[in-house]
């Protein structure tokens, strides 16, 4: 077990969908060694401060972590991410295909680093959880995926599908090739507990490698300590589940510091 906690965090250029160059927030342990990588997919409001905290937390626990700024095409690095997010929202959001291209680009960035083991996990929150589910079904060479309360994996109203989001992720489950961890609050309205159950039923029916954890007394975004939704006990247990899953699936080169 290593207790060396030094890390380096920075904004780096990366190549996303169609080779477009954007920015990503990247953090890695400073101690010698090789490290598995994790891509962190941010939520719709944008590339927020809490997202960068998640990246640093994963680096603290022995991962080279990167969060691509999914809205970089909308403006420069000097513009506030929330302003970019507002413009993206007004324009109807980002297309699933573009996000998948950006995630694939972030994975390539991680694998190109000299300290990479080559193992890659993906984790996303809220809409990023949905994107993580999509990535697990459509991108190659993901070793572990963590969907944190991703809504709209199941689309009950076909009118909610459009050119940017043409397919319900649940309908791609057959193509899922990596283990999936799901973290959900039972008080969440999207996904509801019923939708989580229906998603699990599909995963089970198709024989997929998954594990779901549900929390009472928690709703949406209960890891987020910058929101009233934060539930410390459930969040701490959830983080333990996430880090244990990544350690098992990505075989961290050095033991993670216990999430206690």
């Amino acid at each position: 077990m290593s207790y060396y906690q030094g890390l380096q965090a920075e904004v780096v250029p990366f190549r996303g969908h169609n080779g477009d160059q954007g920015e990503a927030y990247y953090a890695r342990p400073l101690r010698p060694g090789k490290f598995p990588g994790v891509v962190v997919i941010h939520h719709i409001p944008g590339w927020c401060e809490w997202t960068t905290e998640v990246v640093r937390k994963l680096a603290h626990h022995g991962y080279a972590a990167i969060s691509p700024h999914l809205y970089f095409r909308e403006g420069g690095a000097n513009e506030s991410p929330d302003d970019l997010g507002a413009r993206i929202r007004a324009a109807g959001g980002v297309a699933d295909a573009q996000v998948m291209g950006d995630v694939a680009g972030a994975m390539a960035y991680l694998r190109a680093q000299p300290n990479a083991t080559g193992k890659i996990g993906v984790i996303g929150f809220c809409s990023g959880g949905r994107h993580t589910y999509l990535a697990a079904c459509t991108l190659k060479d993901i070793d572990a995926a963590v969907d944190c309360w991703g809504g709209n994996v199941i689309v009950d109203n076909p009118k909610d599908l459009n050119a940017k989001r043409p397919v319900a992720p649940i309908d791609l489950t057959e193509r899922m090739t990596c283990p999936l961890l799901g973290i959900f609050g039972n008080d969440d309205h999207n996904p509801t507990a019923d939708q989580v159950n229906r998603t699990e039923a599909v995963l089970k029916k198709l024989g997929k490698n998954y594990e779901f954890h549900r929390y009472d007394g928690a709703g949406h975004a209960f890891f987020n300590n910058m929101r009233d939704a934060y539930r410390p006990e459930q969040a701490m247990d959830g983080w333990r589940k996430v880090l244990d899953f990544f350690n098992r699936r990505l075989a961290a080169s050095t033991a993670s510091i216990a999430a206690e």
Partner: protein, 95 residues
């Protein structure tokens, strides 16, 4: 849950932001997770000038209760304006 649901309305007005006063022609209204507020959900309004590219905005994030109260007070102020100023407070079509 994060969604891309946006209620957009054209309007005539002006607003003061970090660059001073600006004309605004659009309000994007949504109820979703905030960027800044600690609330789980907020009623957010982005006032922009799409005619000038829409890159600057004046943004607010309100609790649902305070947003409803604000709507009520806006209507009350307009009703009082009708009494005090006559037709001046009548609805004006957006340009």
């Amino acid at each position: 849950m994060c969604s891309y649901i946006v209620e957009k309305t054209a309007l005539v007005g002006s607003a003061k932001g970090r660059k001073g006063w600006m004309r605004i022609d659009t309000a994007n209204v949504y109820y979703d997770h905030p960027y800044y507020s600690t609330l789980d959900h907020v009623l957010a309004i982005d006032f922009t000038n799409e005619g000038e590219g829409g890159r600057d905005r004046i943004a607010v994030e309100l609790s649902a209760e305070s947003a409803r109260a604000l709507v009520d007070r806006i209507l009350a102020a307009l009703a009082s304006g009708d009494v005090a100023h006559g037709a001046a407070a009548a609805p004006v079509a957006a340009e």
